[in-house]
């Protein structure tokens, strides 16, 4: 019934990747001069810009927490980011949930008790969406937070995974995402060895589920080294600038 051959007989996916292969990742920190920390991240054709402001004084008094800072996440997806123009870009439930999920994830990882009575803002702008928006946003946020010098327990590395005809696949793109394949997002803390976020849609048998989560976790570990390289490169650049 398959309208589209998602895995070729040779075992290659629609964009030529092997099942357990991540998409090409390019990222850069310090891309915005105004923000305290920023990052631009491309994961395949998904392109995300993240900016971090703070810790600073909370804009709303009522939100102040006396013993820690709180994180506010604003997520915006450009109307031209996907195939069809999106009419409602802000405030729809999907975007709100995404922002809420990211906030919850980072509130547990950022050492918020260092900055009582303050607020940390994370702004996320999706420029191009080709599947895996949530993991890309989390990775970009991690980069931007590190870039802003905000202390965290660990990198939060995120990766999506799915399953096509019982073959677990890593880092799914838009075509795979919209093909009724299950969509699992894992965010992992590699040093601690714990899962920070797990989200899944559509049906997946328990036996396959274990394999998919394991694959996603492996993807996250691989993602960590990539993010680490990006951070180090950014830092090196800064050092070079200072030396000049």
């Amino acid at each position: 019934m398959s309208r589209l051959e998602l895995i070729s007989p040779e075992g290659l996916r629609i964009d030529g990747r092997r099942p357990n292969e991540l998409r090409k990742l390019t990222a850069k920190v310090n891309v915005l001069s105004q923000a305290d920390g920023s990052a631009y991240l491309e994961q395949g054709n998904t392109k995300v810009l993240a900016a971090v402001y703070g810790p600073g004084e909370p804009r709303q008094r009522s939100k102040v927490v006396h013993d820690r800072s709180f994180i506010s996440v604003e997520f915006n997806i450009a109307p031209f980011s996907a195939g069809e123009r999106r009419k409602r870009t802000k405030g729809d439930k999907r975007s709100l949930e995404l922002a809420y999920t990211i906030k919850e994830t980072f509130e547990a990882v950022v050492i918020t008790t260092q900055f009582p009575r303050s607020q940390i803002n994370i702004y996320l702008q999706v420029l191009q969406a080709d599947g895996g928006t949530l993991p890309a946003c989390i990775n970009a946020s991690t980069l931007a937070l590190v870039n802003a010098g905000i202390p965290m327990l660990d990198y939060v590395c995120a990766c999506s995974a799915g399953s096509i005809e019982k073959t677990p696949i890593l880092d799914i793109n838009y075509v795979e995402e919209s093909s009724d394949s299950p969509d699992v997002t894992v965010a992992y803390l590699p040093k601690v060895g714990k899962v920070a976020l797990l989200q899944m849609e559509a049906r997946l048998h328990i036996d396959v589920f274990e394999k998919v989560v394991a694959l996603g976790t492996d993807g996250c570990i691989e993602m960590r080294s990539k993010l680490d390289t990006v951070i180090r490169q950014g830092m090196q650049q800064l050092v070079n600038q200072l030396e000049q």
Binding site: K93, R94, L96, E97, Y100, T101, E104, T105, E107, A108, D180, V184, Y188, L189, V192, G193, K194, V195, A196, L197, L198, Q199, M200, E201, A202, R203, L204, H205, I206, D207, F209, E210, V213, A214, T217
Partner: protein, 273 residues
């Protein structure tokens, strides 16, 4: 309302010795009471003191242009002040989580066969409207809602229709036996809360436990041993082994709950006869 330090310590200390304040084991479920109403698709669910009412309705509408042969499923699950009096601040986030999870559990996992709801392709399809009203909140609204929705969907009958060309005749329930929905599978949601630095997972948390927890996880499963949706965010991370333990427990409890729903439906059927 804030939980006092003494109350918190009491709950945690009890949990450390393997028991919960209401006498349950950490992975125990509260009493589930599924009350199936006289009308098709009307179900009242009690999960301990938590109470939700579900009403399923069907109406004829024009299909979405990009899906001319598919019926529609709409879920209304707004929190009314009836259920949110004690936690007014967090209620917007609770509502969002419940809303999105139900969308995933019911719609994304394709619990209802939507192609079977088509009447005249491109012109008329059935729209199934699921209304969820939370009447009383003692924690774990989502699981109660999910049980209610699945029981109501299984119980619901839509009027029969005859199609001649483009003409559609809707037969009242008195004229012709109404038609059951075709349900692909029965997803059941099982929620966990993690207390005491994430060391103690508790199943089916009460409102008090929800207020004390650092993280939560919601798993929807079905009888085919499939995971239909998972949401876990916030709180300290969780080891993969613990995660797998939770899914296993969820599968087991899901099975139990499915049987309860079947039993309640069977009882309702005999009562009608």
């Amino acid at each position: 309302m804030q939980v006092s330090t003494n109350e918190r310590e009491f709950v945690l200390e009890a949990l450390r010795s393997g028991i919960r304040v209401d006498g349950r084991k950490p992975l125990g479920l509260r009493t589930v009471d599924i009350d199936i109403g006289a009308d098709y698709g009307h179900v009242n669910v009690r999960l301990g003191k938590t109470q939700a009412m579900v009403q399923v309705m069907a109406e004829i509408v024009a299909p979405y242009p990009d899906r001319p042969t598919e019926g529609q499923v709409i879920i209304h699950s707004e929190l009314s002040p009836m259920a949110t009096r004690n936690e007014s601040i967090k209620s917007a986030e609770t509502e969002l989580t419940i809303n999105r999870m139900l969308e995933r559990i019911i719609r994304k996992s394709r619990a209802i066969e939507t192609e079977g709801l088509c009447i005249v392709a491109g012109h008329k399809v059935w729209r199934i409207v699921i209304n969820i009203h939370f009447l009383d909140n003692d924690g774990n609204l989502l699981d109660a809602a999910c049980i209610g929705v699945m029981a109501a969907l299984l119980h619901f009958r839509r009027p029969d229709v005859t199609v001649i060309g483009q003409e559609v005749t809707v037969h009242t329930i008195e004229e012709r036996n109404p038609v059951a929905l075709s349900i692909n599978h029965v997803p059941i949601c099982v929620s966990f809360a993690f207390l005491d630095d994430g060391q103690h997972p508790v199943l089916d948390p009460t409102l008090l436990e929800e207020q004390l927890c650092e993280g939560d996880m919601m798993i929807a499963v079905n009888a085919h041993r499939e995971i239909c949706a998972i949401q876990k965010a916030g709180g300290l991370g969780m080891e993969t082994s613990q995660l797998m333990l939770c899914t296993t427990v969820a599968l087991e409890k899901g099975q139990e709950i499915t049987e309860m729903i079947q039993k309640a439906l069977a009882e309702a059927k005999t009562k009608m006869l």
